[in-house]
Symmetry: C2
Subunit: 179 residues, 2 copies
């Protein structure tokens, strides 16, 4: 129904969700090495180091955080290598790239972990990660209706957190009556 603007999101070469199920408890590092081998790429100290740092992250992180962290640990890696590695980790189905704004990308480990959806408070910026089987079911249903084979999804809900509402009870509800 809609003509697509040239949208070709960078997704894992191998759908992360399916792949994770093939070997549920395989160490992530092994997954990465296998991927590299398959693609005739090399397992270098830099890549090992970056993977290591990535795996220590919980939830979302920004490339810059990662780079800072590595430098703080005395490791020397160039920004370029980090970005290149993040991309490989994504292709390997270990990482997922998330887009919240047009400033930068965020990443999140998905290998061996539950994928997340997000509930974001527009006032405080707080992000709650959650997981919903109902959502996955609904997703598959929608795919089926259109004959699509589901690979993955992104779901973000924006709202006002209880804390935010408590903090600023007034602020400018311009005549929106809950009629």
């Amino acid at each position: 129904m809609a003509q697509a603007p040239h949208i070709l999101p960078s997704l894992p070469k191998i759908a992360a969700e399916s792949r994770r199920q093939t070997t549920p408890y395989e160490p992530v590092c092994a997954v990465f090495r296998r991927y590299l081998h398959q693609e005739k790429l090399k397992f270098t100290p830099e890549r090992a180091m970056i993977l290591d740092a990535v795996l220590r992250k919980e939830g979302l992180f920004e490339p810059e955080q990662l780079i800072d962290g590595l430098k703080r640990l005395g490791h020397k890696v160039s920004r370029a290598t980090v970005y290149r590695t993040l991309s490989h980790l994504q292709d390997a189905g270990i990482l997922k790239q998330v887009f919240f704004d047009n400033k930068q990308s965020y990443y999140e480990v998905i290998a061996g972990r539950q994928t997340h959806d997000y509930l974001i408070c527009v006032t405080t910026g707080k992000v709650i990660e959650f997981n919903s089987d109902k959502l996955k079911k609904l997703r598959d249903e929608i795919c089926q209706e259109h004959g699509f084979e589901p690979l993955s999804h992104r779901f973000q809900i924006f709202g006002v957190s209880p804390e935010a509402r408590a903090a600023v009870p007034a602020e400018s509800p311009p005549s929106i009556d809950p009629a």
Copy 2:
């Protein structure tokens, strides 16, 4: 549970979905003028022109498309003014900004139209816009669980379209059996 990276997405100052209900059939232009007046901003020919172009768009569009279109019509607008106006239209709840990748933003008119969620083929890049009440219900449920007041959401499903599968039956399904 998760510490938020500084994510503060640009959302309408007035939640689009609520606002749209206040005056279901009010012409969008009037909505914009009212918004501008409220904010002590001015209704200029440039803004009128941009709004006009925007309203002729169906589904997603890119700022660059919009600018091209305007120039092709012989209108003179600077890129800067377009971007500034897009931002106002967003604040007015007329437009919604969508993030698919880290290259650029996409926009979509929401005032007086159904909001959309997206089903995206990772092979062809085709985008299907759809609408699901079940999804909205689920969204509200999730919000309630966390005490959030829902404002809006983004939902994107990535998958393989029937056409894509038909076109390239082989290609590298690495032992994923439809068991």
